[in-house]
Symmetry: C2
Subunit: 470 residues, 2 copies
C-alpha cells in the first residue's frame, strides 16, 4: 500500500469546540448517548460493536454538508448509517468519529413513470419505495432480504434473489449525489439510460462502502411489474444436475426472474421446521415473470430441461396462493437452518463463482464442512453463481469458531481459484479485507487505494473499510 | 482544474535513444513513416489528422508493457489504436508521441460456453468475434455499426442498436487487463457475474478512452442467440406518437431487442434512394428476440399499442427474407441521408435524453435545423433515448459550417437541460470537451481529473482527451 498516505489517527474524543459547532447546525439532532452510539457502531454481522463518538441525525443535504465540513476541519472520521443491516462490519467505528444517520432522510423526491426512474433520499428503504410505487405498474426489484436503505444498498453494491433478471445495484443506479470529504457536493451523471461522457463515477461510488463520500441522493431505475408470475420447484439427484439445468435454461435465453438453490441439509432442516415431506436432495426454486403465455412456456421449458437432468417432483403454479405454497420452503430456509442447532451463532458466508464452477464449488464446500465437523446448510442465488453457507457455530467453543473460520477461508480461496469473488453481495467491510490482495493482486488494490487517496486525502470517509491504508 | 498537475509537454520529436530502445523490443514492428503516422492520427470524425511520431504494432502483452515502460521513462505520450473507427477525435495525437496499434493483437483467448463469456485480445473486432462464436449458440450483441475493435468499444463505452435489450459495453465487460502508465499490469476483476468486492475498476476503465491505461485483454459477456426473431415497421403521425408507443411497450415489459426511429426527412431520403414508397412520416423499426410464440406475441402487442397511438401501415415478419425487406429502409438510411446532398460532409451528432423528453427534443431539433437552413435527417436508438442527426454540410461554406456548429451546440444544451448527456455512444474525445462542465459541473469534472492524476500522474495516457488538464 502506498506509503505517502496520511495515516489515519484514531480519534479518542470529540473536541469540545467541534461538538459545540456541530450541535449548532440548524435543526440537527446530535447524540453522544452510549446506547445510541453502540447501536450505530454495530451491524448484523457477529462482530463486536465499535461505537462512534456521536451520531448526527440528518434530514437535509445541507445538514450532511455542514457535518462533513466540520469533520474535515477537525479531521474527524465520518461513517454513514442507513438501516444498520450490513453484514461485514461496514458500520464499526474502528477509528472513532461521527456517524451520520440517514434514516430520517427518507423522502421520495420524484417518481417518473414514463422514464421508469425515481429520485430518492438515501434513507428510503426498498419496502418503503415499493409501497410508494403502488399503482404505478412499476417496482424496484433489488431485494437483499433485509429491508435495507437504498443508499446503503448502493454503497454495498447489494443484490439478492432476482439479480439474475434485473441486475444488481451496479446496473440499477442512474446517478448519485455525493458529499465529498471536504464538503463539496457532486452529481455523478444525468438520467440518461446510457452515456459515453467522462469517467463512470456512478459505478465508482456504487460499492465504495462510504469510503469515497456520502451518498446524499440517488436516482434508480424502475421496472414494469410483470403481467404474470409463475413459480416452480424441482428436486435433483445432485448439485451438478441442478446447476446444469440452470446453465441450460440461461443458454436457451429463458429469462429466469429468480432461481434459488437449496442443498440437501437445508431441505432436511425445512422438512423438520415446516413439517413438509420434500425429497431430501438439492432443489431449485424458480420464478418466471412475463406475459401469461410467456410464464407458462418458460415453466414448461424448464421442466423439460430439469427432467433431462434427472430432476423430479417438478411442480409449478401460477395462482398466488399456490406460488406461495411452493416457495414457502425457500422462505423458511433461513429460520429452518437456524433451528438445526438452536442457540448457535449463524456465520453467513458469501462467495460467487462463474456458474460452470458452481456445482463443484458447493460440493467441495459441503465436503469441507463434513470434514471439519460443521453444520452449515447452503442457499444459493444460482443464476449469478452466488451462494451463502450458514455456518452454525457454538459461540462458547473456540475450537468450533476456529473450524468455522478455516471453512470460510477455504471457501473464499476455492471461489477465487475458480475466478470468482470473495463477496457476491455483502461487501468487503472489515471482515474480508484479508482477501483483497488474493482476489485482485496487490497492484490492483494499490490502484484502488490511490483513488481513495485522491478523493479523500485525509482518509476521513469510513476509514479502515475495504482496505487498511498504512 | 487542479493546478498541481504536471503540464503535458507536447513532444516535438522522439529522442534517438528512445527510438533505438523501442526498435530493440523483440519482434516489434515500429514505423515512423509519414503515411502510417497520419493514418493512425485520424479517425472517422471530420477533424484534421494529427499524426503521432511513430506507430508500434504489438502482438503481445509483453510488447505493450515494454513500449509503455519506455514511454514512461522518456515521458512520451501513448495513444492506443484499435480499428480507427472513433468519431470524436479520440486518436488525434495532439501532444505527439507514440501510437500503439492493437489490430494484430487479435486472438480469441478462450470461449466458455457454460459461463457465456469469452476472453479476447483488444484488437478482436465484433464481427471477428461473432464469426468465431459460430456454432456455439451464443453471440456478442453490441453493434455500434462500424466493425470496431472490442478494446476500442470498451474504451469508448460504445453501444448501438440493441443496447435497449442487451446493454452497452458498460454492462457487458466482465473484466479488463490494463497496462498502467508506469507499465504495471492489473486485472480489474474475476469472471463472476456480480461482486461486491472493492471499487468497480472495470467500469472506471470502460469509457476512459485510453486516458487511464491501455486495455490489453477483455473478458466480455455473451448472450444466447434467440430461437426466433421477428421484425416490424410502423409509420406514425408525429414523433411524439412514435416515442409514446416505445414508452408504453417498455412499460409493458415487452423486451424490445431493437427499436429504431427514423424521421420524416430520412424517410423521404430513403424513398428517393431506395425507390420505395414508404409513408412520409416518422417511422419505427422493431426487432423482437425470443421463442416462436414470444416474438409473435410481442409483435402483436406492439401493433396494438402503435395503433392506439395513431400508428399505421404496420407490417411484421418472421421469415429472414421478409425481415430483411422490412429493415432494408433502416439499413439504407445512412447512405440515403448522404444522397440528399451528394458531396457534402456529414457531421453526426450524438445526444441522449430520458425517453419521456425524446419526442420534444427531436421536434425542437428539427425546428432548429429548419430555422438554420440545414439539411439533417435524424436516426434514433429510441429505446435508450439516444439519437443522431446527420448534418450535411458544404465543406466550402464557412457560414454553413458555423450554422451546423450552432445547431450541434443547441442540441447538446437542449439534451443537457433535459437531464441527458452530450454523448450517448461516441464518447467525449476532443470534440465534446467543451460540454463536460455543463454536463457534470466543475466539481465533478475536477474529481474525474483527480482520478486521472492519481492513476497517470505524468499525463502520458492519451493526453488531452476527455478533458484538458492545465
Amino acid at each position: 500500500m502506498s506509503a505517502e498516505f496520511v495515516q489515519t489517527k484514531t480519534v479518542d474524543t470529540l473536541p469540545t469546540e467541534f461538538v459545540r459547532l456541530l450541535s449548532d447546525i440548524p435543526e440537527i439532532r446530535f447524540s453522544t448517548g452510549e446506547a445510541i452510539c453502540l447501536q450505530h457502531g454495530s451491524d448484523e454481522s457477529s462482530l463486536a460493536g465499535m461505537p462512534p463518538h456521536g451520531v448526527a441525525f440528518v434530514k437535509t443535504l445541507d445538514q450532511i454538508v455542514a457535518v462533513v465540513k466540520l469533520c474535515y476541519e477537525f479531521k474527524i472520521p465520518v461513517i454513514p448509517y442507513g438501516a444498520g443491516t450490513s453484514l461485514e462490519g461496514q458500520l464499526q467505528a474502528i477509528h472513532g468519529g461521527v456517524c451520520i444517520d440517514m434514516s430520517e432522510m427518507n423522502q421520495i423526491v420524484q417518481i417518473r413513470q414514463d422514464d421508469m426512474d425515481v429520485t430518492i433520499q438515501p434513507g428510503v428503504t426498498r419496502k418503503q419505495l415499493n409501497n410508494a410505487l403502488h399503482g404505478t405498474g412499476l417496482f424496484f426489484p433489488i431485494d437483499p432480504g433485509a429491508d435495507a436503505s437504498i443508499g446503503g444498498m448502493a454503497a454495498t453494491r447489494a443484490s439478492g434473489t432476482n439479480a439474475v433478471r434485473y441486475g444488481t445495484m451496479r446496473e440499477n443506479v442512474l446517478n448519485l449525489v455525493v458529499v465529498l470529504a471536504d464538503g463539496r457536493v457532486i452529481r455523478t451523471a444525468g438520467r440518461a439510460r446510457k452515456s459515453s461522457a467522462g469517467y463512470d463515477l456512478t459505478r465508482l461510488f456504487v460499492g465504495s462502502g462510504g469510503t469515497l463520500g456520502i451518498i446524499a441522493e440517488l436516482t434508480v431505475k424502475l421496472h414494469p411489474l410483470p403481467e404474470a408470475v409463475s413459480s416452480a420447484v424441482c428436486a435433483f439427484p445432485t448439485m451438478e444436475a441442478a446447476t446444469r439445468t440452470v446453465i441450460e435454461a440461461i443458454q436457451m435465453g429463458i429469462p429466469l426472474a429468480r432461481v434459488e438453490l437449496v442443498d440437501t441439509l437445508s431441505i432436511k432442516a425445512i422438512n423438520a421446521y415446516s413439517k413438509t415431506t420434500l425429497p431430501e436432495s438439492p432443489a431449485l426454486f424458480f420464478e418466471f415473470h412475463g406475459s401469461d403465455t410467456a410464464v407458462a412456456e418458460q415453466a414448461e421449458l424448464v421442466q423439460e430441461l430439469a427432467s433431462n437432468n434427472g430432476g423430479h417432483n417438478f411442480e409449478w403454479a401460477r395462482r398466488p396462493e399456490d406460488r406461495s405454497r411452493l416457495w414457502q420452503a425457500r422462505h423458511d430456509a433461513y429460520f429452518a437452518a437456524l433451528s438445526l442447532r438452536p442457540g448457535m451463532r449463524a456465520v453467513t458466508t458469501d462467495v460467487v463463482v462463474p456458474i460452470s464452477s458452481l456445482g463443484k464449488c458447493i460440493d467441495e464446500t459441503i465436503a469441507d464442512f463434513e470434514e471439519l465437523g460443521l453444520v452449515a446448510p447452503i442457499l444459493g442465488h444460482v443464476g449469478d453463481g452466488n451462494f451463502h453457507a450458514i455456518i452454525l457455530v457454538d459461540p462458547n467453543s473456540d475450537d468450533e469458531t476456529e473450524r468455522a473460520q478455516e471453512a470460510s477461508s477455504r471457501l473464499v480461496k476455492r471461489a477465487l481459484a475458480m475466478d470468482g469473488s470473495c463477496t457476491g453481495e455483502h461487501g468487503i467491510g472489515l471482515t474480508k479485507q484479508k482477501y483483497m490482495n488474493l482476489e485482485f493482486g496487490e497492484d490492483t488494490v494499490d490502484l484502488m487505494a490511490s483513488i481513495k487517496m485522491a478523493i479523500d486525502p485525509h482518509n476521513l470517509m469510513n476509514p479502515g473499510k475495504i482496505f487498511t491504508l498504512k
